[in-house]
């Protein structure tokens, strides 16, 4: 018997917390895939470190979502017993690691956003979210510094590293727009002072990203077509494979405690 998916009452606040939890969990999971396989031991340490930060963020946000929802779900039920259509993360974070340049560009685009986002969220009227934001902001600042340094090294390194970094930027660019999108439910939270409007961060994000990309002698694509769908469960094909691995034990041994 396979374990059935849980049902989630996605009130605006539950959905809000789950979306951010899923961003952190999926990106953290992707980073953990590198463990033992990074280009240098120092990077093995750094990628695992960032993965752990993100996993920690996911757990706090999931735990909060469970509390707000009040239906007996918990961090593990959210992580292990929702299928691909129930996941609410950004398309960007589920994109495969690819080479080191792709991993770093994905991290850079996200961290440049998360750094601003969590800093702004420290002013949330929701005390729990403000506390999570304060912790996440410190971590995101480091993730941004680390990935920015690599973007510059790779872009301004060798011909090969430049080409790989540029390819990664070109391929991942279309997944950045989703970070700034807001739906009606979230609009209500913004109006209530619980969430902040990510659209207000866009120009600062673009300034940070453009600055580093220029320093790296790389270029941002001209296209402004942006993919969307992660926030409502319309994912890329990659997420299902990630989840089948992530959830394998929980799905194989229903109800067991680990």
């Amino acid at each position: 018997m396979a374990t059935a998916n849980i049902e989630v009452s996605e009130t605006p606040l539950v959905l809000y917390a789950l979306r951010r939890a899923d961003d952190a969990l999926i990106l953290g999971h992707r980073l953990s895939e590198w463990c033992g396989h990074a280009p240098a031991m120092e990077e093995d340490m750094a990628l695992a470190n960032m993965g752990l930060d993100l996993l920690g963020q996911a757990r706090e946000l999931d735990t909060y979502a469970a509390k707000v929802e009040g239906r007996g779900n918990d961090e593990d039920k959210f992580a292990y017993l929702r299928d691909v259509r129930q996941y609410r993360n950004l398309l960007l974070v589920e994109q495969p690691n690819g080479d080191f340049a792709r991993t770093m560009v994905r991290q850079f685009f996200y961290a440049a956003f998360a750094d601003l986002y969590w800093r702004a969220m420290m002013a949330s009227s929701d005390a729990t979210l403000a506390a999570i934001a304060a912790k996440s902001e410190k971590e995101s600042a480091y993730h941004l510094r680390h990935s920015s340094e690599w973007i510059v090294r790779l872009g301004d390194g060798t011909e090969e590293s430049h080409r790989r970094a540029q390819n990664a930027i070109d391929d991942l660019w279309a997944y950045t727009g989703e970070m700034f999108a807001v739906d009606d439910g979230e609009r209500g939270l913004i109006d209530a002072g619980i969430a902040i409007d990510p659209a207000t961060l866009k120009s600062r994000w673009l300034k940070t990203v453009t600055g580093i990309v220029n320093e790296a002698t790389l270029a941002l694509p001209k296209s402004d077509w942006m993919q969307q769908g992660g926030r409502i469960g319309s994912h890329s094909e990659h997420l299902g494979h990630l989840l089948s691995e992530l959830q394998s034990l929980q799905r194989t041994f229903p109800g067991a405690t680990w």
Partner: protein
């Protein structure tokens, strides 16, 4: 990224064997003094320690692979975070140990190359596969447990940098060991399937773990000089016995059966194991273990696929340096 300056250790007098110096050196060891990197030491002492510390470092790095195999499948977020942190600790241990080995005059780059080419060894225990989640518990409980038995005495090793690295490593290892045991407790209190998974993992790991202490004392090559130099303070068999005596009650607590029906307690209270299959040990050491090829292939792949990244970092550092020089000249 690598310490190029340490590539050569020729051209000084450290390799010169000299009876008076050797006598003074041994007297310092006998007086329990620590030998530090700039002190005179016999070439054989340097070579033995370089081999031992670098093998230890390689073991930490290769040891990331069997456990890393379960990070993406860990069964809860708490377990996932703990396992990722643990494997990260192992990488950290590898880094300290390469740094300790470098103080003896061989660069990390050379040491890593020797491992990748198959010339240098790492602990054979990592050539066994992790088939189920219970293997992660068992590795923590038994493999880390055995490593601690081996490493605690190394905290008093005569070579200062190695001894100091071991103090920190041992603290983290004992934390890992407790985590592993806690996974086993959870499995053994869980469903019948989980308990069977735990027993099966113990069945597969028990004998390879006993082999971790190395060949029996009567055939061990390195022990005599290592003991004289206070690199080694207990014999292989002594450590193995200590480990078994500590583990038997733990297995009993878990309700698991150690897969050695002939094991008996002697008059001193020590548990006497049945003969170990040293042919298996030799085969795994010779490269014929279930995962030798996979482990080396994974390390080589990471190294080769990372080459362009390391080159980019070097190229960028060079560019930056020459830009700074050009600016300073203006």
């Amino acid at each position: 990224m690598y310490t190029q300056a340490l590539n050569s250790s020729d051209g000084d007098d450290r390799g010169v064997e000299d009876v008076a110096r050797a006598t003074r050196f041994q007297a310092r060891i006998d007086a329990d003094e620590r030998i530090e990197p700039n002190d005179w030491m016999p070439a054989a002492y340097r070579k033995t320690l370089t081999r031992q510390i670098s093998q230890h470092a390689h073991s930490e790095i290769v040891g990331m692979l069997p456990e890393g195999n379960w990070i993406t499948r860990a069964p809860s977020l708490r377990r996932k975070a703990a396992l990722l942190a643990k494997v990260q600790d192992e990488c950290g241990h590898g880094l300290y140990l390469y740094a300790a080995a470098e103080t003896l005059g061989t660069s990390r780059e050379e040491l890593v190359d020797a491992m990748l080419s198959g010339k240098a060894k790492y602990s054979s225990i990592f050539n066994y596969p992790t088939l189920t989640w219970a293997d992660i518990g068992t590795i923590g409980w038994l493999v880390d447990g055995a490593a601690i038995m081996n490493q605690i005495p190394l905290c008093r090793c005569s070579y200062g940098p190695y001894a100091r690295a071991m103090i920190r490593v041992c603290k983290e290892e004992s934390f890992h060991q407790r985590q592993g045991f806690e996974i086993m407790v959870t499995l053994c209190r869980g469903t019948a399937e989980q308990k069977a998974m735990a027993q099966n993992a113990l069945d597969r790991w028990w004998w390879p773990v006993l082999m971790m202490f190395g060949p029996p004392d009567q055939v061990s090559q390195h022990s005599d000089t290592s003991t004289k130099w206070k690199i080694k303070r207990f014999s292989n068999d002594e450590l193995r016995q200590k480990f078994i005596d500590a583990t038997v009650p733990q297995a009993e607590f878990l309700g698991l059966t150690i897969p050695d029906p002939g094991m008996k307690q002697n008059a001193n209270g020590n548990w006497v194991h049945s003969p170990i299959d040293w042919d298996e040990f030799k085969q795994v050491l010779a490269g014929n273990g279930p995962c030798n090829r996979d482990r080396l292939a994974a390390r080589r792949k990471a190294h080769e696929e990372g080459a362009w990244v390391r080159e980019a970092a070097m190229a960028y550092a060079e560019k930056r340096k020459s830009r700074q020089l050009a600016q300073a000249a203006e």
